[in-house]
């Protein structure tokens, strides 16, 4: 099982803070983005960064069981 976290605009679009996905191991970040985009009809991940277990990763990173994946839209703190 993996946990996916959503923030800011994507959180509102999803209507969810987080999502648990069973049996979606061994796919890349890119594949997860495509899966979510198709399933939830999301607008765009084009500018969205991804973190796995609180570290930024690229789209090629392979997701492992128990990972926490966070989608990070462009940040606007400060």
């Amino acid at each position: 099982m993996i946990t996916v976290l959503f923030f800011a605009g994507i959180r509102e679009e999803m209507g969810l803070d987080e999502l648990k996905i069973v049996e979606k191991n061994d796919m890349t970040v890119h594949q997860l983005k495509q899966y979510l985009q198709n399933k939830y009809n999301l607008s765009s991940f084009s500018q969205v960064m991804t973190a796995i277990n609180e570290s930024f990763v690229t789209d090629e990173e392979v997701i492992k069981d128990q990972d926490i994946i966070a989608f990070i839209p462009p940040v606007s703190g400060g």
Binding site: L5, A8, G9, S43, Q47, A51, V75, G77, G78
Partner: protein, 154 residues
């Protein structure tokens, strides 16, 4: 030091408290950056703001900025507190304090810290106007996303 140097908080920030975290007898300068909630952005009146954070990662990234500063300016001490939740106009959203033996380091490291916050720290602000709301898209305040969808700049 009992309090962590890099914090995300819900309650109002005490500027003095953050300053005291870097105060020391070797310092010849302390620079403070106080980020406040602005009323007008590109002519649009903001009524209030809401900051959201991916808290554990935001704290981790603030610590990373601290490490980067230590590598670039070994004699600087830095403390950063960012507030999240609902904020009103003029409220303090972030305080960065840097102390150093000489002033140039304190100025430079402080500016570096705020620029890095706007790049890598997972904190987002939502603006509330009289006629709507919007999650602000990036640190340059150029890209805006109504309900998460990229739009052209006005």
């Amino acid at each position: 030091m009992t309090e962590s140097l890099f914090r995300i908080v819900q309650d109002p920030i005490s500027v003095e408290e953050v300053t005291n975290q870097v105060s020391r007898k070797e310092a010849g300068a302390i620079t403070l950056f106080i980020g406040t909630v602005r009323e007008f952005t590109k002519g649009k009146k903001t009524l209030s703001l809401e900051y959201q954070a991916y808290e554990p990662m935001a704290v981790k990234m603030l610590n990373q900025i601290g490490e980067e500063i230590k590598n670039r300016w070994p004699d600087a001490w830095v403390a950063i507190t960012h507030r999240i939740g609902k904020l009103e106009i003029s409220d303090v959203a972030v305080v960065i304090a840097v102390s150093s033996p000489h002033r140039k380091t304190a100025y430079r490291a402080n500016e570096y810290a705020i620029e890095r916050i706007k790049q890598i720290v997972p904190i987002w602000k939502k603006e509330f106007w009289e006629n709507g709301t919007m999650w602000i898209g990036d640190q340059l305040e150029i890209t805006e996303y109504p309900e998460g969808k990229p739009v052209m700049e006005e």
